[in-house]
């Protein structure tokens, strides 16, 4: 795990856990067959990038932003609308992604330079307002964006499920465009994650931590913190944009629910906190735990409710009703924050590490 970063993740248990998640994701199509498992794995990958890029801002620089999902949406709509409007080619894909990146950078730069000079609460409010405006804009421009319905589109031929690149299965898995799509997602997320890891462990990343700890002192040392904060906002926005593009490509659909919804922003916040703020490895664990729980908690609860009903127990079948899964997730979140305020990473890091007092 020192790969490219020069900073090992501390703690044996943490290393093992991260390694397990990485192995599970890299070999997911072969280890967990079926469309649902593959969707869950792809979503986990996308969320790892989204959460990691958010953690650069929140956990490292100490900046609270509510516009992270907006940048995710910019990426998703950029790719989606380009493929929808220009046809299913790589040119359209890259044009869409390129424009999205430019738009994200411009927005991040504007928000950062405009509002990071003053108190952080002001920055949080500005991001909230901008994200809200963007949301409204996306649904108002329905002729262009498809409004609430969003847009379904075709992806480049080799990524389509119907595309066969081998006429026999590979280790029992169909060698189709879906498999290629999955590995495209894995590859891009891995590359982007390593870049983020590099950045947070660079001299620049260290200054971000200093700014989080004591912005006043960082300035007294000669760091012009507005620029550091703005650059962090841009880096974070780029990560989110890329994640959004991948998400649209995987789903072959873009709409407010999957790309702009405020509930995604809340999910990201939960994943960062559960994983452990201020550690990119926490993003990996938080995202994996959350997405898997979101996908399988309902199944598990359905089974439990059935068991309880069969055993004739009172109340329990109602409590375990699959529709109440959010209740349980919320409860788990509260317990997690209470017992492990520094997230999974904090709980698994040896005390002499810098994460703990």
């Amino acid at each position: 795990m020192t790969l490219l970063s020069g900073d090992p993740s501390r703690g044996r248990a943490l290393q093992i856990l991260v390694t397990l998640v990485v192995i599970a994701l890299v070999f997911a199509p072969f280890l967990f067959p079926g469309a649902k498992a593959m969707n869950t794995a792809a979503k986990t990958c996308v969320m790892i990038l989204l959460v990691a890029s958010y953690d650069v801002l929140l956990g490292y620089a100490g900046i609270v932003s509510f516009a992270h999902v907006m940048f995710f949406g910019v990426g998703a709509y950029g790719v989606g609308l380009a493929l929808y409007g220009l046809g299913a080619g790589w040119g359209a894909l890259f044009a869409g992604l390129g424009l999205a990146i430019l738009l994200s950078l411009a927005l991040a730069l504007a928000i950062g330079l405009f509002s990071l000079r003053v108190q952080s609460i002001f920055f949080a409010m500005v991001t909230l307002a901008v994200a809200y405006a963007f949301n409204v804009l996306a649904s108002q421009l329905s002729a262009f964006t498809g409004g609430e319905d969003g847009r379904s589109f075709k992806v480049p031929a080799v990524l389509q499920p119907g595309f066969r690149w081998l006429d026999h299965p590979l280790f029992g898995v169909q060698a189709n465009g879906k498999l290629l799509s999955y590995y495209l997602v894995v590859f891009v997320v891995a590359a982007a994650f390593l870049v983020l890891l590099r950045i947070v462990n660079s001299p620049f990343g260290r200054v971000l931590q200093a700014i989080r700890e004591n912005p006043f002192r960082a300035e007294a040392l000669g760091y012009r913190i507005v620029f550091h904060r703005t650059i962090a906002t841009c880096v974070s926005a780029l990560g989110a944009t890329l994640a959004g593009g991948l998400s649209a490509l995987w789903l072959r659909y873009v709409g407010p629910d999957t790309a702009l919804s405020f509930s995604i922003q809340v999910d990201v916040l939960v994943m960062v906190v559960v994983g452990g703020m201020g550690s990119l490895w926490g993003a990996v664990l938080g995202a994996a735990l959350f997405v898997v729980a979101e996908s399988y908690l309902q199944d598990g609860m359905g089974a439990l409710a059935g068991l309880a009903a069969n055993a004739g127990l009172p109340l329990l079948p109602a409590l375990f009703d699959p529709h109440r899964w959010l209740l349980w997730l919320g409860l788990a979140f509260v317990l997690a924050v209470y017992f492990a305020p520094l997230g999974i990473v904090g709980a698994l890091t040896p005390p002499e590490g810098k994460g703990r007092r």
Partner: protein, 254 residues
Amino acid sequence: MSPSLETRDLTIRFGGHVAVDHVTCAFRPGELTAIVGPNGAGKTTYFNLISGQLRASDGAVLIEGEDVTRLSAPQRTRLGLGRAFQLTNLFPRLTVAENVRLAVQAEAGVHYDMLRPWRARGDLIDKADAVLDSVGLGAKRDLQAAALPHGDQRKLEVAMMMALEPKVYMFDEPTAGMSVDEVPVVLDLIARLKDDASKTILLVEHKMDVVRSLADRIIVLTNGQLVADGEPAAVIASPVVQEAYLGIAPGKAA
């Protein structure tokens, strides 16, 4: 020698209260100026105006003849002002070594390098370790700054300014709250700095014996005004000081 730092009619008002009142003063390289005055006289506020933490209501600050009154704190630091704060002002959850390394990094001008691992700059790490050794904190380099006892935090505060290698050193009661056996480490450090004739040193200090042994010159602030300025012996003996500052116990002050 021309002054490295100068204030002209430097003034700040908080509402109706004038905390620093038209202070005009110049500080030269090779000179250690002690700034004394009763609690609330405006010494820390004067420092804040010089290093840019506060903006002046009136007057000007000049570094090596250049007007910096409109510049921000980080810009003034880059021009060579170093500050050790009266109220300890560290990066609490970072290690002792990291606190100093960040100062070294700032001094080296490594602000935005994001593609190299920080460990690749071994030169910065080594320099930070050397500074830590000079204040006697070498053995505690891997502790969290927040976990240090008060005296060590004061030393770390000073170490961070030393690491900046400024032209002008501003010590604000560096030994306040230190135990007796810790004080000499910091005083030796300041004494050694004095040997370098290119450094300008400003020292706010209440302990008269310290002032007497280190200062080349004393200025006295009372109610934000500069009321005395000169040779230590002359200033301490002057009636205005006896009355304004040491008047409470003139016998003891001598």
